[in-house]
């Protein structure tokens, strides 16, 4: 005989989960009690939202599924932003929430919240378990759904009495059988042929690399395809890091905050190959303009992305890795030399901005300095705000990763995601870049960092303001600075770090920042570097 809670833990073990992030509470106590007996490691976050972000950072850098746990009611609702963040960026998560006793459901009892209902529009799927006998096949299905096709978060809500319900036997199914879920993984060969013919006829082709390329692990295939075809490459924010920034034919990030060269090249193109890019509004503000001028080839594993935001001429539904592999083998370089030359000229015409300063840290220059100092396989996690744009534009990902909340744009993502990333890849350098606004949204996690001695490095770009919104106010709202000033309410971040026992220092110029960064990267411990930034420094 096994209790439902024992079954839950056994299911996690069957799925080779060895690390979960969470926060306990009454309704999930039976599960936690069984975790006590298990080898699965539990990381106690300081607020549930961060448990979801930590699981997300863990999933993204390990390639496994991230698991987070919370109790019913407020524990579950605190997860919501984290779940939505993962959903928008297609990150595979399993979210386990406790729920009030099943016979009390719907009576608004203490700590009751309809979490499956609340999360419906941003979970790939969800379950409210009504019988412990269903747990094994639900867990099997949930892990299968989260990680296959277009990945995403799957929520399993389990009432306390179900966790305590006794079940005769434990038998974990070998395969998930879901008749309504058969993700197509192989690209149609005729469509691939059509695409290759269109590419051979194109005069000004461009490749756009999105987050799907990262998710499908198609980095090598993408580089091979770009090299063999000679087609210039641009990336969306989620596609940063696939093609190294210093490659000749790489133009950088497109979009509102993208590189001018990349945006101009995209506008001039007569053929665009979208790879796992959903043409979000921040990446392409007027998709119809591009679709009117260019032939659009769209490769995506999610058929619903085809034609959602842009009219597509040649859709290829399937796993990008396989599709690009086939295409890389078949393709020859037919890109006219004039276009290659034009792209190179564009690239040189719009260099990155910013010059080193002595009175403050120029953040764009500092990110470039940091980039050159970090190890080749390092993981940079950017938060949201100006710091995200500074990082996205100026950090050169070589063989490592660039992680950020691209879709939902969730402030406070960087620190927990960096914690997850570091736990997944303990030997890699992991650096989180935050603003003073986003840092304060997640600074409770300093407790987690210290408790488990997770040696991530945190850079705080301190400018005393919510820089991105202030920039909007400057451009669009006559510099009416309402609700964007943090000054007067900010702690001394160095002292704050020290109170947790975390090493920290503050830099007031680019030279100081560079030297401090060297000490930070050298240190085996968690480390915070505060950079004093001029609030008038622009994003781009």
């Amino acid at each position: 005989m096994f209790s439902g809670a024992q079954i839950m833990v056994k299911c996690l073990e069957e799925e080779n989960v060895n690390l979960v992030f969470g926060y306990p509470g009454a309704a999930i106590c039976p599960f936690y009690d069984c975790l006590f007996e298990s080898d699965i490691r539990h990381i106690l976050c300081r607020e549930e939202q961060n448990a979801a972000h930590e699981a997300s950072g863990y999933a993204r850098s390990s390639g496994k599924i991230g698991v987070c746990v919370a109790t019913s009611g407020p524990g579950a609702t605190n997860l919501i932003t984290g779940i939505a963040t993962a959903y928008m960026d297609s990150i595979p998560l399993i979210i386990i929430t406790g729920q009030v006793n099943s016979w009390l459901l719907g009576r608004d009892v203490f700590q009751e919240a309809d979490i499956t209902g609340a999360c419906e529009s941003f979970t790939k799927h969800s379950y409210l378990v009504k019988d412990a006998n269903d747990l094994t096949h639900i867990f099997k299905e949930a892990f299968y759904i989260a990680s296959t096709g277009r990945p995403g978060p799957v929520l399993i809500d389990i009432p306390t009495d179900i966790q305590n319900q006794m079940v005769e036997d434990f038998h974990y199914p070998e395969k998930a059988q879901i008749r309504g879920y058969k993700p197509r993984t192989q690209g149609h060969i005729m469509q691939i042929k059509k695409a290759l013919i269109a590419i051979s006829k194109a005069k000004r082709p461009i490749l756009c690399c999105g987050g799907g390329v990262v998710l499908s692990g198609a980095r090598e295939e993408m580089i091979a395809f770009a090299t063999n075809s000679g087609i210039p490459v641009c990336a969306t924010m989620m596609g940063i890091g696939v093609v190294p920034m210093n490659s000749d034919h790489y133009l950088g990030m497109i979009g509102t905050h993208g590189r001018e060269s990349a945006n101009r090249a995209l506008k001039k193109a007569d053929l665009v190959i979208l790879c796992g890019a959903r043409v979000g509004d921040r990446a392409v503000s007027s998709p119809e303009q591009i679709a009117n001028k260019a032939v659009i080839i769209h490769i995506d594993i999610d058929p619903a992305e085809i034609g959602k935001n842009i009219q597509v001429d040649i859709p290829i539904v399937g796993d990008i890795r396989g599709v690009l592999h086939t295409m890389a083998e078949e393709i020859t370089d037919t890109v006219p030399e004039e276009w290659k030359k034009e792209v190179l000229e564009l690239k040189n015409q719009y260099p990155l901005r910013g010059v080193p300063r002595e009175d403050a840290v120029e953040p764009r220059v500092f990110i470039r300095d940091l980039s050159s100092m970090m190890e080749e396989n390092a993981i940079l996690v950017a938060d949201v705000g100006q710091n995200q744009i500074w990082s996205a534009r100026n950090f050169n990902v070589k063989r490592g990763r660039f992680l950020t909340s691209g879709g939902l744009g969730t402030m406070g993502y960087a620190i927990p995601a960096a914690i997850g990333a570091k736990l997944a890849k303990p030997r890699r350098q992991v650096v989180a870049v935050c603003g003073d606004g986003s840092f304060q949204m997640a600074m409770c996690e300093l407790g987690t960092i210290m408790q488990y001695q997770i040696p991530i490095k945190i850079i705080i770009m301190q400018n005393g303001t919510l820089g991105m919104v202030k920039e909007f106010q400057d451009k669009l709202y006559h510099s009416h600075y309402i609700a964007t000033q943090l000054k007067g309410g900010e702690p001394d971040f160095v002292l704050l770090a020290k109170s947790y026992g975390i090493k920290a220092e503050c830099a007031f110029s680019n030279q100081e920042a560079k030297e401090a960064a060297a000490r930070m990267l050298e240190s085996p411990d968690p480390y915070i570097l505060v950079c004093r930034v001029d609030p008038d420094t622009p994003s781009i």
């Binding site: 419906e120 529009s121 799927h125 409210l128 759904i145 059988q177 008749r179 058969k182 619903a304 034609g307």
Partner: protein
């Protein structure tokens, strides 16, 4: 333009709300929706009439397919299916009007299912157009109440909308 979709789904609680909220959050307009169990008791069929152009219907189809419990979505080809909706119409009816209303009912293949001193209730199971014609015809007598179901539809001939995979 109106499109009729035949959607096979797992017969599970909560599924209908997932379908309806999908329409709400993606901004798709539902004209009508009808649910019922199929010949296989584990599968329900939802017949949805959607108002929109072809690109919208394509998105509706794809987004519905993304729901894990949706087994099959078929956009029925116009002219290739039969559609019916059931309506109950309560009309004011003075004694001297009764014969006229009975004639209208006969003409429109409607049934009179209830008669009261000052009203009668018609039942019609027909296409949306014919139902509308009946409503227009009885309108001058004064309609007290109309209760309509959403349309249900079936393909003509031997063709069926069925899930490919059987459990």
């Amino acid at each position: 333009m109106k499109f009729t979709l035949s959607v096979l789904v797992e017969n599970q609680p909560g599924l209908l709300s997932k379908v309806v909220s999908l329409f709400a959050r993606r901004g798709f307009n539902i004209d009508s929706l009808a649910v019922g169990v199929t010949e296989d008791s584990t599968i329900s069929r939802i017949t949805i009439v959607v108002d929109g152009d072809e690109s919208i219907v394509e998105q509706v189809e794809k987004q519905l397919n993304k729901l894990i419990q949706v087994i099959k979505v078929k956009v029925l080809t116009p002219g290739n299916f039969l559609s019916r909706e059931l309506s109950l119409i309560k009309v004011n009816c003075r004694t001297q009007d009764r014969i006229d209303l009975m004639k209208i009912a006969e003409l429109m293949k409607a049934q009179i299912i209830d008669v009261a001193p000052s009203s009668l209730t018609l039942e019609i199971s027909d296409t949306q157009e014919n139902t509308q014609t009946l409503i227009d015809l009885v309108h001058p007598y004064g309609i007290k109440e109309i209760v309509r179901t959403g349309a249900i539809a079936i393909e003509k001939g031997a063709q069926i909308t069925k899930s490919k995979v059987n459990p």
